[in-house]
Amino acid sequence: MNEHFMSLLWLRVAVLLYGIAALAVLPAALYERPRWRHIAVPATIAALLFHFVSLAEMLNAAHHSLPVDTHETQALLGLLLACAFVIVYWRYRTVSLGIFVLPICFLLCLIPAFRPGQESMPFPQFHTGWIFLHVALLLAAYAALLLSLLASVLYLIQERNLKSKHTRPSAEWLPPLETTDQIALKSLLFGLPCMTAGLFIGSLIAQQTIGPSYFLDPKVLLSFAMWLAYVGMIYIRRHSGLRGRRAIYLSAFVFFVVLAVWSANQFSAVHRFTTP
């Protein structure tokens, strides 16, 4: 009980810091105010630390050891997105993506921090690090895809801005095309091994615990379709150097497949391991 309380407390601190970072990133990116950038980035890093501590506390909690319910997986996705923002800042020195990423992190963690899930994991055989790795790797792939989609949208806006030839001060915050293109492609390239390994680990665990019937579940089949779509998208982008509008359509299509897979968790007959 105490661990659970502490986990929530740290998560609430993290949410507060995500909120501060989400607000500070607006003047930092839109008006290029270094002072605000010096608030947004450290606040995100501090939020990440508190969020990580919260996650560690949660994993050590006595009643369950996994982020099993929707709220907890949401919070973990928020953590991974915040990590992605910090990595992008460190590598490309741009905070522009934070305008979208940080509010998403804040919202993803808000409900888990104040209305924690009540579901727990009743199967002791799943209390292993492998199942956590399965969940974390797939969430990392989702986070990478979301980041790639956001970067592609920024690419398109900047491209339109440059094509219009009326470069407005209101568009100064947009990162250069090459930067957003790199972020979009590298995120996808990072997401692919995560998704592959996540699905592979999940399949091995399912094979050992449930047997072949697991692979007949539509949700599980949809997951493999998602992997194929993901691979196809990367192949097309790399092979033809797809950028701009068509790249967004492709990313958006795969993103909706991912959303479908996520939603299917709620209806799947066998891919539910929690008890309310």
Partner: protein, 433 residues
């Protein structure tokens, strides 16, 4: 505007004097120290600094006793040092004193008084003048504090407004646009189509910002080779232009060809060869070399001379908007600076008042020493404490009034209070006038 410390600024700039006059007053960097030394040796000049750029020559001085109706010393210096007749110079001169001089200096350092508002060079030029003035011993505490404050204000204006963030020349607009596409120009390839002066200038600017590979295509091979040699680049035979153009990230065209060299289909072909990596076409030729419809091809960005000019003009308008915000900062900083100077003045007046009261107290105690001789040590200490306490209580209202007058920048009230309590007003530097 209230007084500070006999600050006088005399000068000419691009708004008040034509180039013919400015060039006669311009001081080369090598002679600035000598000129500053000569200025400081003029009678009545306590501290001095000369700012000499292509757009302005200004003398900033702190004087012993500045006569508000005369700038004879500075005029004499200008006439003698530059051997100019007063009639040539006087109509173009402007003069600022005290608070107005402080404001002008802050505006100059913040690039609000520049020909191109927001240009960054002026701050470096002020720093250079300050450094020379310090070296020759022409700057002491008053001017030193003022100039340091001007640097801080300029920095504040840069960081709190976007006055210098946008480019206003064609070449720098082209570099800015290229950066919006490629992020960095490091390692980028530039193709010059036509070996004209304008394309040379643009290429030079791009190279200064990191572009490293230059390809030159020109109908006259000799000129192409000459320009390629200048940039340590490579010549592309004009016949092979369409095969080689896809190698370039940035294409600058400036030929005199009557027809378009590059059409929409060329753009599609180049992009296909480059696997959709973007290309930036800078078309500075008139008539144009690049079909504007190429801009419709995804990944091709075509800017002609009018487009670049339009961006430059828009950026200039943005700077003007930012300048209004910068003026507010300068006004606030001038007030703050003056309040600080006035507070210092109040401090010296308060010190004078305390000394005066203490002298009176001591004199009265000495006068009554014989009458107090019979008192015990304890009683004498009580008398000492009583007189000290009375003095402090009497001093409290005038000291408060002095502080308030200084804080409000009310020089007249300050002078009247000093005259009332000290018998005569003190000069700004703290000594009795």
């Amino acid at each position: 505007m209230s007084q500070t410390f006999n600050l006088v600024l005399l000068g000419i700039n691009h708004n008040t004097a034509p180039i013919e006059v400015r060039e006669r007053l311009a001081i080369p960097a090598g002679r600035l120290a000598d000129a500053t030394r000569t200025l400081i040796h003029q009678p009545g000049i306590r501290e001095g600094l000369i700012l000499s750029t292509c757009n302005r020559v200004e003398l900033l001085t702190v004087q012993e006793n500045a006569d508000p109706n005369s700038n004879a010393e500075l005029l004499r210096f200008l006439h003698e040092y530059f051997s100019l007749a007063p009639a040539t110079l006087t109509p173009h001169l402007y003069e600022y004193r005290e608070g107005e001089a402080v404001r002008h200096l802050f505006r100059v350092a913040s690039s609000l008084d520049s020909m191109v508002v927001g240009e960054p060079q002026i701050l470096g030029q002020v720093k250079e003048s300050y450094s020379v003035a310090r070296e020759v011993g022409a700057v002491a505490s008053s001017l030193d504090a003022l100039i340091q404050r001007a640097f801080t204000v300029a920095k504040k204006v840069r960081s709190e407004t976007q006055i210098g963030s946008s480019s206003v020349s064609i070449a720098s607009v082209a570099v800015d646009l290229a950066r919006k596409i490629f992020n960095t120009l490091d390692g980028k390839t530039v193709l010059l189509v036509g070996a004209g002066k304008m394309s040379e200038l643009a290429a030079r600017h791009l190279m200064q910002h990191g572009a490293s590979n230059i390809l030159v295509a020109n109908r006259t091979a000799e000129r192409a080779e000459k320009m390629a040699a200048q940039f340590n680049g490579q010549v592309v035979p004009f016949d092979a232009l369409y095969d080689q153009a896809a190698r370039a990230d940035i294409v600058i065209t400036s030929t005199g060809a009557p027809q378009k060299l590059f059409g929409r289909s060329h753009g599609q072909h180049f992009l296909h060869s480059r696997r959709n990596r973007p290309m930036f076409f800078i078309d500075i030729a008139v008539p144009r070399d690049v079909d504007p419809r190429m801009n419709e091809v995804e990944g091709c960005f075509v800017y002609d001379i009018d487009d670049l000019q339009q961006v430059a003009v828009a950026n200039l308008a943005d700077r003007s908007r930012e300048a209004a915000a910068a003026e507010t900062i300068v006004t606030r900083e001038v007030e703050k600076y003056q309040q600080r100077v006035q507070s210092l003045d109040a401090a010296s007046a308060i010190r004078g008042l305390q000394e005066h009261a203490e002298n009176l107290r001591q004199a009265e105690l000495r006068r009554s020493a014989s009458k107090l001789a019979g008192l015990t040590a304890e009683q004498q200490a009580a008398v000492e404490a009583l007189t000290r306490s009375l003095t402090n209580k009497f001093l409290h209202p005038p000291m408060t009034a002095l502080r308030e007058a200084a804080r409000d920048g009310d020089a007249q009230a300050l002078a009247e209070l000093e005259a009332l309590y000290l018998g005569q007003p003190r000069s700004r530097n703290g000594s009795k006038s």
